[in-house]
Symmetry: C2
Subunit: 452 residues, 2 copies
Amino acid sequence: MYSEQILAVLKKMKVKVGDRVNVTKGKEIFEGVLMPRIEVGDQDTLSIKLNSGYNVGLRFDRSVNIERVGDGPKLGSIPALKLKESKELPSISMISTGGTIGTHVDYKTGGVFMCRSPEEILSTAPEIQSIVNLKNIIRPFTLASEDMLPSDWQKMAELSAKELNKDVEGIIITHGTDVLHYTSYAMSFMLKNLTKPIAIVGAQRSPDRGSFDGAMNLICAAHFIGHSDVAEVCVVMHGSSNDDYCLAHRGTKVRKMHTSRRDAFRSINDIPLLKIWPNGKIETLNSNYRKKSKGKVVADTKFEPKVSLVKAYVGSDPEIIDWHVKRGFKGIVVEGTGLGHVPTGESGITKDPLRKKYSWIPHIKSAVDSGVAVVMTSQAMYGRVNPYVYRNLRLASNAGTIFGEDMLPEAAYVKLGWVLGHTKNLKKVRELMAQNLAGEINKRLDTDLFLI
Amino acid sequence: MYSEQILAVLKKMKVKVGDRVNVTKGKEIFEGVLMPRIEVGDQDTLSIKLNSGYNVGLRFDRSVNIERVGDGPKLGSIPALKLKESKELPSISMISTGGTIGTHVDYKTGGVFMCRSPEEILSTAPEIQSIVNLKNIIRPFTLASEDMLPSDWQKMAELSAKELNKDVEGIIITHGTDVLHYTSYAMSFMLKNLTKPIAIVGAQRSPDRGSFDGAMNLICAAHFIGHSDVAEVCVVMHGSSNDDYCLAHRGTKVRKMHTSRRDAFRSINDIPLLKIWPNGKIETLNSNYRKKSKGKVVADTKFEPKVSLVKAYVGSDPEIIDWHVKRGFKGIVVEGTGLGHVPTGESGITKDPLRKKYSWIPHIKSAVDSGVAVVMTSQAMYGRVNPYVYRNLRLASNAGTIFGEDMLPEAAYVKLGWVLGHTKNLKKVRELMAQNLAGEINKRLDTDLFLI
């Protein structure tokens, strides 16, 4: 709620929340929609949604003038794309799961809602119907991605296999961006004999903003599905912070690397497969990918959810491993430091008995001895872990840790859940974790692949 | 140990481990030192340390010929820099703590040891004595950095303050690279009224390799301490993968981003302060830094070690928060997703009661209610968390989470330990966490600062 001071001025000027207004403060002029004051924040600050879609907060003082210039946008006025059949174009399916790409702002309450139907989402990119034939549109659930669970991956994978085995070229999945990459890892491991592509797309900015990125991501994804020969799970998102091109990232090597930039998704330890312009131009950056072919796609969604991702660092408490074991966890991915280190309490010339209390080695050994799979990755993220370089690394390796090559910690987490869904035999787990199942291990890793 | 097959050939050819050898395999020729077979790895593979310092493994077969060409390097043959006093040059102190920069390889056992004295480390960069006067050299302990504890930060900070208050221009600290950045965060928070600089340097490659980076890092650090006007804790390491220049990164905004590259340390959400060439040329990249001045440096090392760093992700178990509370932890830094999300079980149109089990919100609220400080950061690392954009973010904020702006998760962890060392009052903790104490919060964050 606004302060009484502001409410009095609004009443006097006959301005209501949701109206289009002109506000001057000193020499500055702002035109936009008066937004409600949300529960947090200063009650003495006017919130204006500018025409650019950005919100601006104007601290109220005597230099502020506000004037009503017209009605604001109406609720429920979101257009929906009218679907038409275009048999001459490649057919695709679309699975809509929620996220910013499907939000809209309620100008009366200030709330952001995820209530766009797939057709409403598609209306932000109507040109998509000149690129592909939208054959099947499905909305299995509507979730902010941070609320997803492994069971949602299973649903999505089963649905995806079903759709891919129909007469379509591939699938676009719209998704919230927070954990979009976790879903791309899961789809990559759960879909076997992939003969057609899946493009997962989202938006870093909401559709009410001028900087909305979802439309271009959808268009590039349509070109990717309809007009490339890739048959992998890819994340298709902005490649730069401009609206110039998208990148198709391999589903197991991509990570959200920025909280807000539109090109937040980056390939780590791999080269993006394709550069895709919204006009349909496609450039191959990395030709080492699975090609489209014939054959039935299989969803193999067995997954062990008792798996966790734990970080090792200065002063970290290694008894967290014991807690996981006691709680029935079957797998633990450790984000170690550097080449895959955990504290050992053993190095150097100082062999302080107190230091031993911080050693992860006995806790890892005990977890492995009780049948829990422990996988090592690096919090440095770029590069490869390696148990052979230093003695402390060999201590972790000898305690039974499986070193995860150049896998991203989060991808190793999803992979371990999938592997443990299929076998609890640690020897087999080790074999499968060392195998490149879906592009997650880049055997030909080039150290030039850094910060690109 | 090598296989019997290899041992027989070595005996026949009168080659011993540690000898300089010529090996041909098919058409390829390798010259180097025959290394012992370490405990892990294939016993049928010859390990040769090439003149470049890299090890190569040659699978033994009938095409392999090995010939002794001379003696290998001798143990204990590491030169030590003979220190001389150069009163006309700026005086510095050096604190040597261990790590790869101070290792050497034992060619008889294959082991890597951290037994170089500071003078032996300096002998890799003898030209340092033409840049600065090495006044005081101290070796408080010798540790692989992954084995460090917060108590080691306290020792280093106290020692640093003592040295800085002598007649020197600043300090070079040599350090293992795994958690070098954690130490730079700790020194930044623990040293108050900093009027002189500290350069923390390490090496990503060991001194026996042709690609050793520690010497150039030391030389650039000497230029930084002796010939710049920065009075901050900085990490001075290679700026590119060539031996062309170093970067001085602000101590609270730097992170190890690659397991093996020599330019692994990168500034996140900030511009490196200086570009430093080994010939002494210095270019200012970011003039927003603390300048050298007069005044006594104070070590304020109170630190609460019962602080942890926990990651939230798809399927993560929020009861980990309760475990920390029960175990007496006073602070928890959460690495959330995107803008600072944790699972809430509340979003979208699906309000599945089972989903609620995964919600972090009640666990965070209960932790905060019992006096534990909970700080939110983002696993995306680049960018800023923000509790105002989405409803789920406000749920976390309303539960009492302190949003950590653009702080790195690991820097927020060290800061929270330092803050809780000084007050357990959550209101004061919130105030201090929101304050920029040592450059850890970049108020003028530019979104262009991505992957540089």
